[in-house]
Symmetry: C2
Subunit: 227 residues, 2 copies
DNA sequence: TTTGCCAAAATTGGATCCAACTAAAGCATA
DNA sequence: TATGCTTTAGTTGGATCCAATTTTGGCAAA
């Protein structure tokens, strides 16, 4: 694994505390490399938003608030919505449609038996990634993909970071059922060239990881707390 | 000026041809520095999207098509639309409202005499930057700002890169009049907390630099060429 | 003349070295 | 004892050095 990837992982795991300064030599020792690749990695991670300049010299680990996480999700939503709308307007190739349908079929298969296993979770994660990557890839221009990928490096902003709570597979199952319907709606809208509809669907779909938990709870009564 | 900034400028000026490989040593000599700062800059510019990896080793200058430019503009549109909607929903502070109104007043002053001078162009450019920066800054979270700033490094994606054609100041004047009305609409919508409206206005406003030229021409009859 | 292989040059990635700047610790003086 | 200055340790940015890989050029053979 590259130095950038390892450092990204360390940061997301909290090895280097958020808001604190991060020293080149320390990281170099931790990763067993010299300062050069670390310095290069710092610049990459700065642009990704995981690090920020600490005055004139050096960097510090970026601290993210809950508001930032929500913001990152909304950014993903509008960008993926844009990509989906463009795809609907330019028309869906049969190859793309088949790939998307394959994702839908596999999603159906995963959810068919009425409950979730740990294995199902990883399987869903993979098909979900494929689904979103297919839409982004079919859009043509690399520009939107780049913007989304940069945003995805922020914690919880990625489409993959959907399931965390393996304790409550019941709630997660209901969430994935909703996600499956959303995926189906998106493919339907794409196939009919309904650009405006697919954009709104995609934007709503972005909230699945953060706003649907409290909706789908059963044991604790679903409560909508006003802010 | 920093190495990154100078290199960014050189690339946008076409010193290093698009699509071609860019060599560290060459750039280092051109800028009169050693390879180290150049290598650091390459990583930054890679994330900004101006460079891309050339296989396993090295980078090449990214080539942008017209479709890419349009895409970058649309990305700016949805992101700035998101920012404006959030601002409308969270409410506009009086300080922010005053700053925006100051921009509107100055815009009015620039356009009052009925035609444009070269000085007016720079003055508009500045107030336009202030206008957009004010909205982004008031949104709170840094995440959207980051996403927009990264996108802005792409050619023509920035809100500043509005006016190029100083030969036809007549057309540009009409364009700025439209932009001024759009700015006014945006402030109005923000002030009334009209989130959905301001989002759409902002998204349309993003097209001012690319789609309004052919609309506002007078001497050559306005023609809408189907693609 | 063309094709394939080998060698040499160039280029990149990583490590080390040096200078400048920052921060901290200790000492001296009021 | 507290405050301020000086010295010293640490950290970062830039330059140079080294090794490995890629590319280019030339030579030989078919």
């Amino acid at each position: 694994m590259s130095v950038v990837a390892r450092l990204r992982k360390s940061i997301s795991e909290g090895v280097y505390p958020a808001g604190e300064r991060i020293a080149e030599l320390q990281v170099a020792n931790d990763l067993g490399v010299s300062r050069t690749p670390v310095r290069l990695a710092f610049r990459t991670l700065e642009q990704e938003g995981l690090l920020e300049r600490a005055g004139k010299r050096g960097f510090r680990v970026r601290a993210f608030t809950d508001a930032d996480v929500l913001c990152a999700l909304e950014v993903r939503g509008v960008l993926e919505g844009l990509a989906a709308r463009r795809l609907a307007e330019q028309g869906l190739s049969t190859a793309t449609k088949e790939r998307l349908n394959a994702c839908l079929d596999e999603g159906h298969a995963v959810l068919a038996k009425g409950h979730l296993t740990a294995e199902d979770v990883t399987r869903w994660s993979e098909l979900n990634s494929r689904f979103h990557a297919t839409i982004l890839g079919a859009t043509g221009s690399q520009v939107i993909q780049d913007a989304i990928q940069r945003n995805d490096h922020l914690p919880f902003a990625s489409a993959d970071s959907l399931i965390i709570d393996t304790e409550r597979l019941g709630r997660e199952y209901r969430k994935l059922c909703v996600a499956q319907v959303q995926h189906q709606s998106i493919v339907q809208a794409l196939a009919h060239g309904e650009g405006a509809r697919v954009e709104l669907l995609m934007r709503e779909h972005a909230y699945i990881g953060i706003r649907y938990d409290e909706l789908l709870e059963l044991d604790p009564k679903p409560e909508v707390t006003p802010e």
